[in-house]
Amino acid sequence: MADYSWPEADRRAQIGARPARLDGPVKSTGFAKYPSDQNPRGLLAAKILTCPHAHARIVRIDTSAAEAMAGVRVVHVIQGEGSEIQWAGDEVAAVAAVTEDVARDALRAIRVEYEVLPHFVTEEDRDQAPGAREAGERAEGDPDAAFATAHRTVQRTLGMPQMAHMCLEPHGQVCSWAGDELEVHASTQAVSTLAGQFATELGVPASQVRIRTEYMGGGFGSKFSPDRWGIVGAELARKANAPVKLFLERDQEVTVAGSRPSAFARIRAAADEQGKLVAWDSDSWGSGGLPGTGQTPLPYVFSRLPNRRTRHTSVPTNLAGSRAWRAPNHPQACFLTMAVLDDLADELGLDPIDFLERNLDLTGRPDTYREQLATAAEMASWKERWQPRGREREGAVQRGLGVSVHTWGGRGHSSNCDVTVHPDGAVEARIGSQDIGTGTRTIVAQVLAETFGLELHQVRVSLGDNVYPQSGPSGGSSTVGGVTASTRRAAQDALREVLVHVAPRLEAEPEQLVAEGGRVFVDGDSSRGMSWREAAAQIGGAPISVQGRNPGPGRLISSGVGGVQIAEVEVDIDTGVVHVERMIAVQDCGLIINRRLAESQVYGGLIMGVGYALYEEWIPDPVSGRLLNADMEFYKLAGLVDVGSLEVHMMTGPGYDERGVIGLGEPPVISPGAAISNAVANAIGVRVPYLPLTPDRVLDALAGRGGPA
């Protein structure tokens, strides 16, 4: 069996370098055409009528006025008379018309009579929740005995609300039919799996559904399926016999197209006199809209904590179902755990970093965390600058430092990649993956260039199309491992075939040859070689084409990463306004293909993290059941001046590189909520129990109205 591996550190030209993303120029100049930029000839615009009530039954729908309007081509009822609607914003009918404005006007002309039913949208108070489902209790060791003999115990009730994905490019697609063949330009994270889902719903063979996503404007876990609006868009296009563009309006995007489940918990944790964790008891609940939500993994990272009991209750609400949000369940579990541990450290009179270090044997990767904690502390000048909570304070603005640790898997998904070497030396890869903004196109090109000893501009990568070999959906930080492994295997195989042709000319064995610096030569004697172009010409008239797969042989990828983040905040104790001054992120992800893009992932995670720590939340109205901030005015995202100074340190080199490639999308977004909350507690001396850390919550905590213990 051929050996598949990454080059040794001293032979890497591309891997670990910092090339800029290949699509940077076309994106920044506007030449990149996103799915929502597609405007085929004869295009119709479609819009969806949504239900304004959180719980209702449709009594009557009258679409006649809309159908009679000039410019309206198709009116399509999605949920007919008698349907029970379970959340505000659910889709009722759709219109395809000659312009967006006409489509919107037609929606207003549709008359729907509703029987309004009782709703429940605020899950913080579990006792008020109808339909709450207890998921049962899990216990290990003897928590009651451990609490009884523990040196220090803290008890807190903490939580964070549901929040939105808020993709800048809303969910949607452009559908065009040619006979029975459907082409969909979709804003999706799943180019290779979408066709089958469209096909099933539409009653056509999957082989007749083409999915294309050259670029897309953000998914964060919310864009894995065609969704109802995808199928409706295709139906409208079929009925209208014209291409149809259907992208959600901003309020729909916020309300129905993606949310992260809430998580609340009443937690007790205890430590012994040495500062070792000895007991944990958590009673958690949360909602992911109508389906409720699964158990949050508690205690987080310190999962080997002895003597623990966890209970969970799933609370259904009349809100649209949640979707995977970057590192599903982890930011919630991290906040709930790290806040309690931070409070326990304070109770013990310990520096929180010291406290975490004393308990690292309860984690899966103690050595990594120890190294990362030391690195992060050094970057933050923690030893010189950290002060305990109870210190003397002067003035309104208080500063504080907080720390958190996190973990993620990140193993590469299933992926297939075709690599072709042409006789003129051209090299290309075709892969049914998608670049969701993370730089997938660029890293595939780097792997190709590395393998064939070429420059980035000498290789071509085609992705974002399901005519290319199947590659997995981009979720769970699985893409980088999947696509680099399949590409590397294909490229190594293709190169070996080339070398078989070249070897006789160089009077050498193929195994003696290497491709580096634009040449193929005998390893150790570069004078016995030829240019890559000459080498490729040896293959004859037909190109060489090889498919590589993942999983497969060789040590190319693995999984399991750790990370440490430190937040430094300023809190105005007279206004409750929190400002993040600085975030430090120390992160490993095995072998890094592109340092710049890896750091970019971490920066993005920190920015998103500041957002949910300070600003972002769904605000459902208890009266109407509707979201009150389904917009970008009161659904607040962090602006550039709000994120502070971001400092990223990637753990690389010996001890990390040999693990192979591991995904990075999720991990850096996990800790910010916890680290920032801990920094605020350090600054003001009390725990603000809920995220986001808005002025009202901060002032309540300062006034001793922090909520239940």
């Binding site: 207003r108 206004t575 409750g576 109205d621 109407s624 009150l628 917009d631 009161f634 962090a638 002025p695």
Partner: protein, 324 residues
């Protein structure tokens, strides 16, 4: 968007005539009105564009009298060295509009007469947001950004960046209407509506805000806004103060809160308390307490009382040039 007519008058007289027709609405910078129309929150039969109307824009500083045309953009005002030197607090107020696009397009008149940001109003529940049975959706729902001085059923807050300062200065509004020109205190431009038919301003049909005039001589002013984000964000609370007299003693103090009530909220008791007093941390704190003495916060906005207190203290400190 629903269809509507569009008129572009050249003179104030023409504009007034057009605005007198029912369903007509003045269009200034359009930064808010166009969204309201797109979202179907408001409906108009005709927009009367003021951009081409002669005499509505420009800044004049004549002795101590500052005259600002209603169609002057916020950025033009911010860039007017004379106006800013005469009234530095203008910069504090305008800089709170933390978006260059809004400052470039938004006008002084538009800032003063913009519609409330209440999320019930913006979702089509009406300015008073009363349920079918007459109960207040605001009072029973989520009111974290609403008034701590509600007036009857009006529970939204006035969102203007400039109004608190102009009211504190005792500025006058110049209004043109079918009967000619009238002048009124800027304060009197506003009202707290109590019926669905009433608006939050007192302009009659056909009336048009032409500009504002303020005597900026011999007083010290400041504006302090509490915003959660440093980037574009509505203030959670704002205070504008004007002190007459120099030195540590305030002959007369005027304190006005923004984002606190359906109208710019004149904290008369707080101003009276300071008038004739020396400004010290103690008197300032007493004034801040007096400013919120009659606050009636709702279920979710008690924190805004504390923000009002802080905003008053800090605005006073800035106006008096002292550390508070």
């Amino acid at each position: 968007m629903r269809p509507f007519g569009y008129a572009a008058p050249a003179t104030v007289e023409q504009a007034v005539g057009l605005l007198a027709a029912e369903g007509s609405e003045a269009l200034a910078g359009g930064t808010d009105l166009l969204s309201l129309l797109k979202d179907d929150v408001e409906r108009v039969d005709r927009l009367v564009a003021l951009r081409g109307v002669a005499g509505l824009s420009g800044i004049e500083l004549d002795g101590g009298m500052l005259r600002i045309g209603a169609m002057t953009t916020l950025q033009e005002l911010r860039d007017h060295d004379g106006a800013i030197a005469a009234l530095p607090a203008l910069a504090m107020a305008i800089d709170g509009v933390a978006s260059p696009q809004l400052r470039e397009m938004g006008t002084v008149g538009g800032d003063l007469l913009q519609r409330p940001r209440c999320w019930y109003y913006r979702r089509g529940f009406g300015l008073l947001a009363l349920a079918a049975d007459g109960r207040s959706m605001v009072a029973e729902g989520d009111n974290r950004y609403h008034a701590i001085f509600p007036t009857g059923q009006a529970r939204f807050v006035n969102p203007s960046s400039l109004a608190p300062l102009l009211v504190a200065l005792g500025a006058e509004a110049v209004v043109h209407g079918p009967a000619g020109e009238r002048r009124l205190p800027v304060e009197a431009l506003y009202q707290a509506p109590q019926t669905a038919e009433e608006r939050e301003n007192t302009l009659a049909p056909g009336e048009l805000l032409a500009g504002v005039e303020a005597n900026v001589d011999g007083s010290r002013s400041a504006v302090y806004e509490v915003r959660q984000r440093r980037s574009l964000d509505w203030p959670l609370m704002a205070a504008a103060v004007t002190l007459t007299g120099s030195g540590p003693r305030a002959e007369k103090a005027r304190i006005v809160l923004g984002h606190a009530a359906p109208t710019p909220h004149v904290a008369a008791a707080a101003g009276d308390l300071l008038s004739g007093q020396e400004l010290t941390p103690e008197t300032v704190a007493a004034a801040a307490d007096a400013a919120v003495e009659d606050a009636r916060p709702m279920s979710g906005n008690r924190y805004k009382v504390q923000l009002a207190r802080t905003a008053v203290r800090r605005a006073l400190g800035q106006a008096a040039g002292m550390e508070i």
